[in-house]
């Protein structure tokens, strides 16, 4: 019966999670990411970026709605869908109306489904999903939701930009695709095949490899295949150790062409590639640190580097998300009226701190923005990554990429209040 006592004590503790003040002068944004485990650094970097953006872009300017400040409340999801759902539940119980999430589209799907269910089942405790990184195209197509907004450029948009870049180089005739074997990797393959076939039908896809995610110990055979295929460009969506494995093995095996990636920057990757990856590794994403887009962007980045010397800004879009949310809340006049805020965000146009405009498509809630083709190098870098001499510099920009891409999204909309 001691265990019954244990159970009682446990429940008391569990209760204490759910009853933190619901009345406060801050607008809380839950941040649901892995803060422990193998991807803790990703989660902590994002947290630093959100906190910095809230502080710098909203709170220092006096907040919104006459002095309400943004507060980022971190929750650890341990990179597990179930833990993420529990964290979401706790956040809802605490009276939080906004949450940010981005790592892993799998969790993104779970959260989207849970938010849609919760907002239908508990209309008085609705919550909005601010997606700043989960890039599965399905989230703004078949699996879209009214309560989900994405500031990141998704796989389709990025691959549109990558295939554009490749299509412009007339001497490239052979392209090699290597990706992780799961929905994200497959989405990249599909988008790359589609884009290349439409823009340059003469390009041959000489290799299309899917490998198990995080299971390959030695990438050498893949490097050999890339070289043996005679590829002149490689496209990969790999991240983490898998990214380094592919890049290193290809370069070691003697491959000399460009490697187009989604996320081969910072988090130790830039430092590890160092001189070997110079002018070879391309990172295609929204927002860029080098060259600084404006004096304001320069100040913002420098401020971040000074405050968090161990981290880099790897998701510039977070600044857009914070600014646009603040604007929507200000214009609605309430942070609790989630439906109105969501309607305000739809179709909003915004001047991004990183230059150019950001526009949220009303039909699927995807942000449309400039996409930059950035190169890994040590020349002309104002803000290097990983405390090394290397960083990424924007070489090419595609204005408002994929503005009119078709979507299959059919979202159920609540009544406009």
């Amino acid at each position: 019966m001691r265990n019954t006592i244990g159970l009682a004590v446990s429940a008391v503790l569990a209760l204490s999670l759910g009853t933190t003040a619901a009345f406060a002068e801050t607008i809380k944004i839950a941040y649901i990411e892995p803060l422990s485990g193998p991807f803790a650094t990703n989660g902590n970097t994002g947290l630093a970026e959100w906190q910095y953006a809230a502080e710098r872009l909203v709170n220092e300017k006096g907040g919104v709605l006459d002095g309400m400040k943004f507060e980022i409340v971190p929750f650890d999801n341990k990179l597990d869908s179930k833990e993420a759902l529990i964290a979401l539940q706790v956040a809802i119980d605490q009276g939080i109306h906004y949450f940010a999430h981005g790592l892993s589209s799998g969790i993104g799907h779970a959260l989207t489904a849970a938010v849609t269910k919760n907002n239908a089942r508990n209309p008085e405790n609705r919550i909005l999903y601010l997606n700043y990184s989960a890039e599965d195209p399905a989230l703004v197509n078949d699996a879209c939701s009214f309560w989900h907004f994405r500031w990141d450029a998704d796989v389709d948009i990025r691959l549109d930009a990558i295939t554009d870049a490749i299509a412009q180089q007339q001497d490239i005739k052979k392209v090699f695709l290597i990706n992780q074997d799961y929905s994200f990797g497959k989405a990249i393959v599909a988008a790359a095949e589609r884009g290349l076939a439409a823009k340059r039908p003469d390009i041959e896809i000489v290799g299309n490899e899917l490998h198990p995610i995080g299971k390959v110990k030695d990438f050498t055979p893949y490097g050999r295949k890339i070289v043996a295929s005679g590829a002149q460009a490689v496209i990969t969506g790999n991240w983490g150790p898998d990214m380094i494995g592919v890049g290193k093995s290809a370069i070691d095996a003697g491959y000399d062409g460009p490697i187009y990636t989604i996320s081969a920057a910072s988090l130790g990757i830039t430092r590890t590639f160092g001189a070997a990856g110079k002018d070879k590794i391309h990172v295609v994403s929204e927002g860029h640190l080098n060259p600084p887009a404006s004096e304001r962007a320069k100040e913002y980045t420098a401020g971040f580097e000074a405050k968090y010397p161990d981290y880099d800004i790897i998701q510039p879009r977070i600044a857009n998300a914070v600014e646009m949310l603040a604007r929507a809340i200000e214009e609605v006049g309430s942070a609790e009226d989630v439906v109105s805020v969501a309607y305000k965000l739809e179709g909003m146009e915004h001047d991004s701190i990183w230059g150019g405009k950001v526009y949220i498509r009303p039909d699927n809630h995807q942000a449309i923005q400039d996409i930059h083709d950035q190169v890994h190098t040590d020349e002309g870098i104002t803000f290097p990554l990983d405390n090394s001499e290397y960083g990424t510099i924007s070489r090419n920009v595609i204005k408002m990429a994929s503005m009119d891409a078709p979507t299959t999204c059919k979202m159920e909309r609540p009544e406009r209040p």
């Binding site: 193998p38 050498t220 043996a228 003697g254 130790g268």
Partner: protein, 318 residues
């Protein structure tokens, strides 16, 4: 043909790396009768120690200093941890090493963080030694292959040709008798454990630059090392060598092949479904061999265990 030759070299590289890990593990198993789940963690520690040392003293100092450090740490853990748990029985012992693997990973994360370390090959080995076709073979890989071969020959020599080796072998089979002859058997055990973990440390120092130094490196390699020694036969050094090479070549060949399972299905007279999205077999139709390459060793192990539970070269029933 070129590709075959290259794959043989790459497979040899990976197989010998596996062997350096499995040699120590299989020695420890024949000594204490337990599978050391934390073995790959010592491999990781080797890489991290060497990285830290290489920041100050360069790669070669790391190669010399890190493995003994790992070995001493292993010996200490045997003396103050494993020996204590040993009295409780085999399952707690296994569970202890399992927990140790968890703890070491967390400690590594605490000290070095989650990111990949920029641990690099030494500059003088950073060049392409020779080319086969358009593919280049890095000098560092050749160096690794020769180092691990030298270690294997040295180990074999010590175990079979020297007095210490004979005492160790005797202590493995008849610990009581050897103790009665006046040898300090617990000390021998501690020594063998230390040497086994130091071997794992060497593997880590050598593999760190080419396979990456990050907190997940132990998990990635951990279970495959068990698979190796189970296939080879628990406690058999030769078995470990053969199994390591087999697995090395098997995974390399699988990764470099482009075999599609659709070919196999068509061979059995099936026709591809008109609408792939509706078919229940759609995953099989789109599957290729590289996709399942890393799990082939597990399938191989299950088959071996079902058909021949003591492995390829195992003498006794596990």
């Amino acid at each position: 043909m070129d590709l075959v030759a290259i794959n043989l070299i790459d497979g040899l590289f990976y197989g010998l790396l596996l062997f350096m890990l499995s040699a120590g593990l299989t020695l420890i198993f024949s000594m204490m009768g337990i599978l050391n789940f934390a073995h790959a963690s010592f491999y990781m520690l080797g890489a991290y120690f060497a990285y830290q040392i290489s920041l100050y003293l360069g790669f070669w100092a790391g190669l010399l200093i890190a493995p003994p450090l790992v070995g001493v740490l292993g010996a200490l853990i045997e003396r103050y941890g494993l020996r204590r748990v040993h009295q409780f029985g085999h399952v707690p012992e296994l569970v202890f090493t399992f927990g140790l693997a968890w703890l070491i990973e967390e400690v590594v994360k605490f000290i070095w963080g989650n990111n990949m370390m920029a641990y690099q090959e030494p500059e003088i080995l950073k060049f392409a030694l020779f080319h086969i076709g358009s593919n280049s073979i890095q000098a560092y890989k050749v160096f690794m292959i020769f180092t691990s071969m030298a270690i294997f020959i040295g180990l074999l020599f010590i175990l079979t040709r020297t007095r210490i080796g004979l005492i160790i072998q005797a202590a493995l089979s008849y610990p009581k008798t050897v103790e009665a002859l006046g040898h300090n058997v617990p000390l021998i055990f501690m020594g063998v454990f230390g040497v086994g973990t130091a071997l794992a440390g060497v593997a880590g120092v050598l593999a760190g630059p080419s396979l990456g130094t990050f907190p997940g490196m132990a998990v990635v390699l951990g279970s495959i090392v068990f698979v190796t020694i189970v296939i080879g036969g628990l406690g058999s050094l030769w078995g470990a060598l053969i199994a390591s090479l087999l697995i090395g070549w098997m995974t390399t060949a699988a990764a470099s092949s482009s075999f599609q399972f659709a070919t196999l299905l068509e061979f059995f007279g099936m026709t591809p479904p008109a609408d792939l999205d509706e078919s229940y077999l759609r995953d099989l139709w789109t599957l290729s061999l590289p996709q399942i390459g890393p799990i082939l060793p597990y399938i191989f192990m299950i088959l071996i265990l079902v058909l021949r539970p003591y492995g390829l070269f195992g003498k006794r029933d596990a």
